[in-house]
């Protein structure tokens, strides 16, 4: 599985932007079999908080898709070994179905530090722009809000949406602001979502070979277009998360804004 772990630079992108897009994750024939299962027999709600490996159905296309070695590598990189099943849903936007404002954060408000759940969004069919793939606002994962109260943000700088070939997966921090879009085609639009929890601290589960790459600092500093005057405060949260996942408790960069919290002389200097 180690060959499928994400790099440190990809991990930094996940910390800064809250998501990764990975193409060609699921082969076309398996995508088609998954689509049949999604259409014909959803396998219901499973035991929340149970072992993913023991709970996730076996001998089904969707069971196989989320056990592909490249998917296992992605999951391991972000939540480590032995994750827990939390939630899944087959999302359908029927042909010609339109959507109004839908920005929301999933589940309920979550303030846990040094922790994140992941959601895998699997697109089993080609999803062009007009089909209305899920939208995300990269970098919003640290902004805790109560689910749908952010419907009021109808438009936001930096917003992106899934426009991708069949077999693509997006993996994202559960906190990322997102929503569904109108489907202007004559084909139904499907997306399969799976949420997983870690069972141990999410430290250095990814490939750390490029941990010292200077590009990581720039990645963590990404400006997605909406941060404005808030960017420094966003950067501090990203630095805190990077310290945790990379096992570098003293990491900081640039003006080292974390010193405004952490630097405090404690000993008198003899005069």
């Amino acid at each position: 599985m180690s060959e499928y772990l994400i790099s440190a630079k990809q991990m930094a992108q996940f910390v800064a932007s809250g998501y990764l897009r990975i193409d060609d994750m699921v082969p076309k024939d398996l995508c088609e079999a998954c689509l049949v299962e999604m259409r014909d027999h959803h396998f219901g709600y499973l035991a929340v908080g149970s072992s993913f490996e023991e709970t996730w159905p076996k001998g089904t296309a969707l069971g196989d898709a989320f056990r592909l070695p490249q998917v296992r590598g992605l999951i391991h990189s972000l939540v480590g070994p032995d994750p827990l099943y939390d939630h899944h849903a087959a999302h359908l936007v029927q042909a010609g179905n339109t959507r109004g404002p839908d920005m929301h954060q999933d589940s309920v408000i979550d303030f846990r530090e040094n922790y994140f759940d992941i959601q895998l969004s699997f697109f089993p069919v080609d999803t062009p722009d007009e089909m209305g793939g899920t939208f995300l606002v990269p970098g919003t994962q640290f902004r805790s809000v109560r689910t749908g109260e952010i419907h009021i943000y109808q438009h936001m700088r930096g917003k992106i949406w899934a426009t991708c070939p069949a077999g693509t997966m997006y993996v994202w921090n559960t906190g990322v602001w997102h929503g569904s879009r109108s489907n202007h085609t004559d084909q139904d639009r499907y997306m399969y979502k799976l949420r997983l929890n870690p069972t141990r601290p999410q430290v250095r589960n990814f490939d750390t070979a490029d941990l010292d790459d200077p590009e990581i600092g720039k990645i963590l500093n990404t400006n997605h277009g909406w941060e404005g005057n808030e960017h420094r405060y966003e950067l501090m949260r990203r630095v805190q998360m990077w310290r945790f996942v990379s096992g570098q408790p003293d990491y900081d960069q640039g003006e080292r804004f974390m010193r405004r919290i952490e630097y405090q002389p404690t000993e008198e200097v003899a005069g």
Binding site: R99, R143, V145, Q154, R181, G228, E230, I261
Partner: protein, 97 residues
């Protein structure tokens, strides 16, 4: 047809009326609810002042926030917003786009 109130909300990261919007929303009674949101990459105006020069009236602007040691680094919703109003002729919903 009577003139009814349209609302434009600009969301900003500083409260000034010259601050660039980072998010925005329309509640246009003249057209009815949005049932098919069309993506917009850029806000309708560079800032609230530009909207005012186009006839929009400011009906709310944000106060500065007090920052405490406990909450000064908290993140959450976008911190500031300007609410603008303009009256436009009522349209049949099916005619509104």
């Amino acid at each position: 047809m009577p003139a009814v109130q349209d609302i434009l909300v600009l969301f900003q990261t500083t409260p000034a009326l010259t601050a660039p919007p980072v998010a925005w929303a329309r509640y246009e009674a003249s057209k009815g609810p949005i049932r098919d949101l069309v993506e917009e990459g850029e806000p309708p105006y560079d800032n609230a002042l530009a909207a005012m020069r186009d006839g929009w009236e400011v009906i709310q602007m944000s106060e500065l926030k007090h920052r405490s040691a406990d909450e000064g680094y908290d993140l959450g919703p976008l911190p500031y917003q300007t609410v603008l109003s303009k009256f436009n002729e009522l349209q049949d919903e099916e005619d509104a786009s």
